[in-house]
Amino acid sequence: MDSLRSPKIWEIASALRLPAGDSPADAVLKYCEDRIDKVLEDFPDCANPAELLDTMAAMLETRFEEIRSDEELLALQERYCRAGEFGFAALHKDLDGEAFGVTYRRLAAAPGERAFVSVIDCRGNKALRSYFTKWHELGHLLILTDQQRLSFRRTHSPGTRKDPEESLVDAIAGQAGFLPRFFRPEIQPLVSFEEVERVRARLFPEASFQASANAYT
């Protein structure tokens, strides 16, 4: 993927102090893989993708909030704004159109509380992508540095081309959300639609068929 060779990816690898070599994207993916492996060492009972997702969210200091209707969005917005999280005032705009999830750094977190909230849009068809969206938001947090935090707003400009960071985070989400250690034992030599659906239902019930098929192939 061309976007994974863009200067932006070199910047991300550099901010993470990774020896980027010829492929900074591979270096970043390896960095994320190593971080996840470390968490799995610390949490050996983590037995399936859903538990890994839960654990990684906790390790990365975020809490998922799912909204399934406009009413739930407004209620969540009101609740967080009342608690001093004014970023939520723009939640309806942050999730309009083709947006699937958004992560806020909390402005009023008490000591010992999680630093972020990730809101996952599960309204209508967006629900089909909720699993991948969660991993996408965690992907951003996995590579978040102060430099990244600043550049996120500066460089996510409108345009037809997908931002390279988004492509990278999609790759991280695809890798982490369909981790071979969970996936491989289930794989059968003959791939069929039924087989992909069986694995999806068993291991990744929140994931779309498309994402599961991509992981399978």
Binding site: D42, F43, P44, D45, C46, D54, T55, A58, M59, E61, R63, C81, R82, G84, E85, F86, G87, A89, A90, D94, G97, E98, A99, F100, G101, V102, T103, Y104, R105, R106, L107, A110, P111, G112, E113, R114, A115, F116, S118, T133, H136, E137, H140, L141, L144, D146, R149, L150, F152, R153, H156, S157, P158, G159, K162, D163, E166, V169
Partner: protein, 138 residues
């Protein structure tokens, strides 16, 4: 924040700050009240899986519960008021504190999955944001 010595102490402190009883925490985690009580007093070790359940129930930082060190706050960003916000603040006659609160609200977004790019807020966007949060501002 002063470091609190043990995992149990940290659990108790956060639980009490949130006015959550042991019974409620037990219901939310599926861990017995007796075990939680023993864990808080240091008489039982808490497994990583149980610590995760407790952290989820308390919306606590796992890092803080495990090691007693809260997540490092981000380095302070330079305070640069965008021209559009500056104009909105002048037109709305906003105080500096309220202008800063608007900027902080906008800056709190750290990730967003979308097929569309982000665009810089216009003057009207800043005004709309202010209208949304002014009732919550002190």
């Amino acid at each position: 924040m002063e470091p609190i010595e043990t995992v149990g102490n940290r659990i108790r402190k956060l639980r009490e700050e949130k006015n959550i009883t042991l019974e409620t925490l037990s219901e939310h985690t599926g861990i017995s009240k007796g075990f939680l009580s023993d864990a808080e007093t240091g008489n039982r070790n808490v497994s990583s899986q149980n610590l995760l359940k407790i952290a989820n129930a308390l919306n606590a930082s796992l890092e803080y519960l495990m090691r007693g060190t809260p997540a490092a706050p981000p380095n302070p960003e330079p305070l640069t008021i965008p021209a559009e916000l500056n104009q909105a603040a002048r037109e709305l006659n906003l105080s500096f504190a309220h202008t800063e609160a608007l900027l902080a609200a906008h800056r709190s977004v750290v990730a967003r999955r979308s097929n569309e790019g982000l665009r810089s807020p216009s003057v009207e966007d800043w005004k709309e944001l202010y209208q949304s949060i002014k009732k919550f501002l002190v």
